[in-house]
Amino acid sequence: MSQLKAALTPARLLDESGRLVRGATAPDAETLLEGYRGLVFARRLNEQAGALVRQGRLAVYPSSRGQEACQVACASVLEEGDWLFPTYRDTAAIVARGVDPVEALTLLRGDWHCGYDPNEHKVAPQATPLATQLLHAVGVGHAARLKGENTVVMALCGDGATSEGDFHEACNFAAVFRVPVVFFVQNNKYAISVPLARQSVAPSLAAKAIGYGMPGIRVDGNDLPALEKVLGEAVARARAGEGPTLVEADTYRIDSHTNADDASRYRADDEVNDWLPRDPLLRVRTYLKAKGTLDDAREQEIADAAEEMAAAVRAGVGAETPVDPEEIFAHVYATPTPQLAEQRAVLRAELEEA
């Protein structure tokens, strides 16, 4: 059963020491360089956001450190009209998709629940209730199909979220209706403190695809070109009308769940240390350096650009932006109900009094 094999053995192009694996076709160097730039940006964003949390400028930040290859790849395989459905952990993917990082951080800054216009870059609000967004992704894809549009939807979730009923319903609806959606599970081995073994005893998460009648593919989640290949093929399948794919990335959450979490309560440093050499950036860097595609000048240029982005994030997140208390009434309905108009008047009176 080659289907089961693809669901069990992670696809790989670059090994941990940055060498092309045997028999693999070399990825296009310029594309990979673009990808490397994305990785550097994603890493820098994770670091910058972490720093802003420590400075009290952001309330909380779920870092994707260690998962940057997943973040970059899932955005890079999409075309303009395609949709991305991210979670709270996927800020770097959102930014890779083109959303302004400061707008993306509005949520974690506490100004509003979503800081960007989902329609502008076709990026759904970051989902908090786990697995719920997968169904929305299916809906967007199904509507596109009914309207004859060529849209593909990339739906993200974690290993823990695969245990939720909504994961099941989303996979099943997508398969039954042949919806152009790619379910991309970043298996980072933990759901807060709960390890994968308590989440599932299946041979792999990708193997769940069999039960829905769709392809399930496992891929090294720290191998950018492999991710771009596997996700790209899944997107192509979806676009060709061949239905959904479940892709599981074998990766690792290097940081704690969020800064508020203390991972040392539930996992050993050794485990983390084992994963550090598999760093998604290093691997691509070594490869591109060896190839000569990434010279010092280019590396400097990328680092400078990332620094510029980080500076913009610091400035944007640091800026005092007024919030309008009365806005809490403004969007609940397209037209506020008489009840909300009354309540708004109560608040307004209080604010004027104060």
Partner: protein
């Protein structure tokens, strides 16, 4: 030319048909709605007429149905989904409360969800457990949802058209005991705006406030009271959210007495809300406390016992009797 008689099932069917025909973005889906035409035949014939791309059956999963509707609405469609029975909407509760109700607000109005969730609801049909819940309080308590409950077949038509046209998500509660009773329905009458109650019967002694399946019961009580010399008015709320304070308060201030009638268990219910707001807004006009005649705070009983649970004419009139008439002029 006389207006045709239709059952409520037919009126809703007509509303769906007209909406699908007039607006390409309207799609109808759920369990058994296509081939079968729904277990109550509400969607009868729509699949045949409009085809699989407009009317389709889904796998059996309510969270899936509502969650998919959210996505379809994000992508420009107007999904009208059916939950087969009241209690079978509960698997979709997270989707309804955490997304359907909140996504518009979450995105500062950048995304609006014109979804209608149709729920055959309430009892009086001798259904087994889980088929007779009056679940409106769960939705009415959730900011962001519009909650509508028609009591007449004409309103079922008109309000459903309005619900489908609304930019906001609407929970549309269909009193299932009305599905097969015929009434005249003039579909050419302008669609009533959501949020307006209607005085179904004027009355000067006291006001009965009801919605959905309790409206005919309240009207029957008023008719009975009239034979006993008491003139009771009846308000049909039609929409629970938004609430028509104006109409309700105008009536209660006039009569000085009010009884709220609703089938759901009374505790922390829509009836509680009505009693609380009438108490707050009409305090100085009240001759007696606002009374509630509701379902008891028990799970919906088995078929042979349901009539003891349901607020009936006698229970309403008993409550009216307690409105301190001895003090009345």
């Amino acid at each position: 030319m006389s207006t045709p008689k239709m059952t409520m099932a037919q009126a809703i069917n007509a509303a769906l048909r007209d909406a699908i025909a007039q607006d390409d973005s309207v799609v109808v889906f759920g369990e058994d709605v296509a081939q079968l035409g729904g277990v109550f035949r509400v969607t009868d014939g729509l699949h045949r007429e409009f085809g699989e791309s407009r009317v389709f059956d889904t796998p059996l999963a309510e969270s899936g149905i509502v969650g998919m509707a959210v996505g379809m609405a994000m992508n420009g469609m107007r999904p009208v989904v059916e939950m087969q029975f009241d209690a079978f909407a509960y698997p979709a509760f997270e989707q309804i409360v955490s997304h359907v109700a909140k996504l518009g607000n979450r995105t500062r109005g950048k995304v609006r969800l014109p979804i209608v969730i149709r729920i055959p609801y309430a009892g009086g049909i001798g259904g087994v457990e889980h088929h007779c819940d009056s679940s409106e309080a769960y939705y009415a308590h959730t900011p962001g949802l519009t909650v509508v409950a028609p009591a007449t077949n004409a309103d079922a038509y008109g309000l459903l058209r309005a619900a489908i046209a609304s930019p906001d998500p609407v929970v549309f509660l269909e009193p299932k005991k009305h599905y097969f009773a015929k009434e005249e329905v003039d579909v050419s009458v302008p669609v009533p705006p959501i949020g307006r109650a209607v005085v179904r019967r004027p009355g000067k002694d006291a006001t009965l406030i009801a919605y959905g399946p309790s409206v005919p019961v309240a009207l029957a009580a008023a008719a009975q009271a009239a034979t006993e010399g008491r003139d009771l008015g009846v308000i049909d709320l039609r929409s629970i959210v938004p609430f028509d304070d104006e109409t309700v308060c105008a009536e209660v201030r006039r009569t000085g007495r009010a009884v709220v009638v609703a089938e759901a268990p009374g505790f922390a219910s829509v009836a509680s809300e009505i009693a609380a707001r009438v108490g707050e807004r009409c305090f100085h006009h009240l001759e007696a406390p606002v009374r509630r005649v509701t379902g008891f705070d028990v799970p919906y009983p088995a078929p042979k016992l349901e009539h003891h649970f349901l607020p009936g004419v006698d229970r309403i009139l008993d409550a009216v009797d307690t409105l301190q008439w001895e003090d009345a002029a």
